[in-house]
């Protein structure tokens, strides 16, 4: 899979090997017993073959499909619970297969570890072979240069040895790598010249960069982390594991490795297109933040926009979402304020930020209180149901259903803050109660009062640290550069032979280039041959030149 050469066997390069050569299998001839070592060798050869690498790559892609089709435990635990509720028979089976946690499943790990092994096992030996091929000398000059794709022949007054000497000087001046016979008396007068080794260098660069990409990805996975945090406007959070909503550390990352920064969301603005067919589409998001790099450090201000992250302390902070957090004040039956907070509500993907959320008041007396709510930013009554017609909060309304009883939060089992377990509760209001900002709902039976005091926006941030990102980018660019080099540069060879005949010395020039690269060798060869000829003419002593003649062997 890593061969950027032409499919045909390379006549230039004995080191280049076909990847898809039939590999000897267990039933291969050669007789004898096929022992454990042979089996292992066979398995290794299979694993590092291009075919298996492609199969593994395909499996990796196939394996990630359920990761995007089904809700995943890490990113969407609520979605998983929902799936369990709606598919009670199927969900446990999917869970057994790890389909709710695809990227952490053993079978997924098996695929990518095998792919990694396959790539390393393929690329490393190939890299060494290419390094060897980039160092080779040109081959000996063939005997019959006229049979080469390009050839020229002329006579010179120079003796053969001098003629070859002059030719070598010209070719060396053009950057060719030269080879001369070890003993001219024995092998004749010739010089072989080859150019375009940069092609091999490019190929080598491509392979090394590919290894670099693999290592970079591994680096990111082992030493990087990703974390999420929802931040209500006006709130501050410190980057500690306990302050993060989700924390996915790499294998070698612990909570102690988090950068000690704090971020305050001073103001969040979202603007939307207010007319036309794009009405309701966001036109801009702008999160004004202030942050300190470490406790006691200077406070800086900054701005987060989508795809324009903040770099702080080696980590990148991305703005990835936003929503509304309606503010509620709850007074219990004894008249004490037991809840006074902005509560993040989560919007679906459609519905103009029609958002749902839950208010839990575990310390209300005499009974715990719970509310399920819907926040409608621009409410319009459509046939008896409220719909949001615009994502901005132009006519905010909250609709609440109140419950009293046991929230089930005192047993130590952590619940989702976005879900209300009404199993131990009784419903206090039969219909959803609508509240405008400032309005209150008196709970029946003197259980208390809830007031919708206002709303603030929230923004969700993703904090990532990927030490492999920059190396991966550099290696990616290097791989591309190497690929281009190996595609655009062609290896070409020029041979010069000089033989003494009856009428002086005959110089034969032959050349060939790889056929799978772009053309232009004809012109190059013609220019070079002309240059060689004029060099020979200039170097020749003042004496009538012998006429050209054909000479064959």
């Amino acid at each position: 899979m890593t061969d950027v050469r032409a499919p045909e066997t390379d006549p230039f390069d004995p080191a280049a090997e076909r990847d898809d050569q039939p590999r000897p299998g267990p039933a291969s001839p050669g007789g004898g017993t096929f022992g454990l070592a042979d089996w292992l060798k066979w398995v290794w050869r299979q694993l590092t073959s291009m075919r298996i690498a492609l199969v593994l790559l395909f499996l990796l892609a196939l394996g990630s499909v359920p990761g995007s089709m089904l809700p995943q435990q890490g990113t969407n635990p609520a979605g998983v619970q929902q799936y369990y509720a709606s598919h009670p028979a199927l969900a446990p089976w999917l869970s057994h297969l790890g389909l709710f946690n695809v990227f952490g499943a053993p079978w997924f790990a098996a695929i990518y570890l095998l792919l990694f092994a396959s790539l390393v096992g393929c690329v490393v030996p190939r890299t060494f072979r290419l390094a060897g091929s980039a160092r080779t000398l040109p081959p000996r000059a063939p005997r019959h240069l006229a049979r080469l794709p390009r050839s020229a022949e002329y006579a010179t007054a120079l003796p053969p040895g001098d003629a070859v000497e002059v030719a070598a000087g010209v070719l060396a001046g053009h950057g060719f790598r030269l080879r001369r016979p070890a003993d001219p008396a024995d092998a004749g007068h010739w010089v072989s010249a080859e150019k375009g080794y940069l092609r091999e260098v490019g190929n080598l660069l491509f392979h090394l960069a590919l290894l670099g990409v693999l290592v970079s990805v591994a680096l990111g996975g082992l030493f990087g982390y990703k974390a999420d945090r929802l931040l209500i406007q006006g709130d501050t959070f410190a980057d500690t594991a306990s302050a993060l909503d989700e924390f996915y550390p790499g294998r070698f990352v612990t909570a102690a490795d988090l950068g000690p920064f704090t971020i305050t969301l001073n103001k969040f603005d979202a603007s939307y297109i207010s007319s036309g067919s794009q009405r309701g589409q966001p036109s801009a998001f702008d999160a004004q933040i202030s942050y300190t790099e470490q406790p006691g450090g200077p406070t800086r201000t900054g701005q987060l926009e989508v795809n324009r992250p903040l770099s702080v302390d080696g980590a990148k902070v991305y703005l990835i979402g936003h929503g509304y957090a309606p503010e509620f004040r709850v007074t219990d039956a004894r008249g004490q304020v037991v809840y006074n907070a902005a509560t993040p509500f989560i919007s679906g993907t459609t519905g103009n930020f029609l958002s749902e959320g839950v208010v839990k008041v575990p310390d209300a007396q005499p009974e715990q209180l719970g509310f399920t709510g819907v926040f409608v930013p621009t409410a319009v009554d459509v046939g008896g149901t409220l719909e949001s017609v615009f994502p901005a909060a132009d006519n905010p309304v909250v609709s609440l259903i109140a419950y009293a009883g046991n929230l089930g939060v005192n047993t130590g089992v952590s619940q989702s803050v976005y879900q209300l377990d009404t199993g131990g509760m009784k419903r206090l209001t039969t219909n959803p109660q609508l509240l405008l900002p400032g309005q209150s709902l008196k709970l029946p039976g003197g259980q208390g009062t809830i007031t919708f005091t206002g709303y603030v926006p929230w923004a969700s941030l993703t904090i990532t640290h990927d030490p492999g990102q920059l190396p991966a980018l550099i290696c990616g660019i290097a791989a591309l550069g190497g690929l281009l080099l190996s595609f655009m540069i062609r290896r070409r060879r020029v041979f010069v032979r000089a033989r003494s005949g009856e009428h002086g010395t005959t110089v034969q020039v032959g050349g060939l280039a790889r056929t799978d690269a772009s053309g232009g060798f004809e012109d190059e060869f013609a220019t070079l041959a002309a240059e060689l000829r004029s060099a020979h003419e200039q170097a020749a002593p003042e004496k009538p030149a012998a006429h050209r003649q054909q000479e064959g062997e």
Binding site: V124, D235, Y339, P362, T411
Partner: protein, 206 residues
């Protein structure tokens, strides 16, 4: 170019070595990843309470120094941790929103009552609002003060010493300001009293 006949044996021998090297390299890489990933590191001077990794005791001499921090209590008074030097302190990070905190709160109230002459309790209320926090302490009969830490900056101060993996976390700090033990997650009566036994006796008090 060397003739294939000259080149091939060398190449074949060389290739075998290379393939072997690649196989070994891959194997070693995988082994390192697997071993390092699943073995985890040992920490000298630390013992688990009752074989439970959620509670640890630092041996005397291995206790990390607790950082200095100040804050405002839920009732609005300024408080500096340095004023607790010379006392054994139970520092409990909690939040009214945190379900395991609700589970452990009765235990903390009882232990605070039992050890009131020997141990000072201090809460750090994380990511919370005053109304909810006060309702919580009223409900569970928590009488010791708590610092308001909505942004969890006090938790951040501890990151370099004992990273708080989550809320709740309970630290026991000896008279010299060193951390003698920690409970990660719901603190139970046996865990808390086992750590306190190390610092309230003369030997462990330092």
């Amino acid at each position: 170019m060397l003739s294939p006949a000259l080149r091939a044996p060398w190449l074949r021998a060389r290739r075998r070595t290379l393939v072997l090297a690649a196989a070994v390299l891959t194997g070693v890489l995988l082994a390192v990843v697997l071993v390092a990933g699943w073995a985890g590191g040992g920490n000298s001077g630390v013992t688990d309470v009752g074989g439970n990794a959620s509670a640890i005791i630092y041996a005397a001499g291995h206790r990390p120094l607790a950082p200095e921090f100040t804050g405002t209590t839920l009732t609005g008074s300024k408080l500096s941790f340095s004023s607790y030097r010379g006392q054994v302190v139970v520092l409990n990070f909690w939040g009214s929103w945190c379900d395991p905190c609700r589970e452990e709160a009765p235990t903390l109230a009882v232990v605070a009552q039992q050890y009131q002459s020997a141990v000072t309790f201090l809460g750090v209320d994380e990511r919370d609002t005053t109304a909810s926090a006060e309702a919580f302490t009223r409900n569970f009969g928590i009488t010791y003060p708590s610092l308001n830490d909505p942004s969890q900056e006090i938790a951040l101060d501890f990151t370099a010493v004992v990273p708080l993996e989550g809320t709740p976390t309970t630290l026991v700090i000896d008279r010299t300001g060193h951390i003698a033990g920690a409970v990660f997650g719901t603190a139970t009566y046996p865990e808390l009293t086992a750590i306190l036994a190390k610092v309230t006796t003369k030997a462990g008090a330092r």
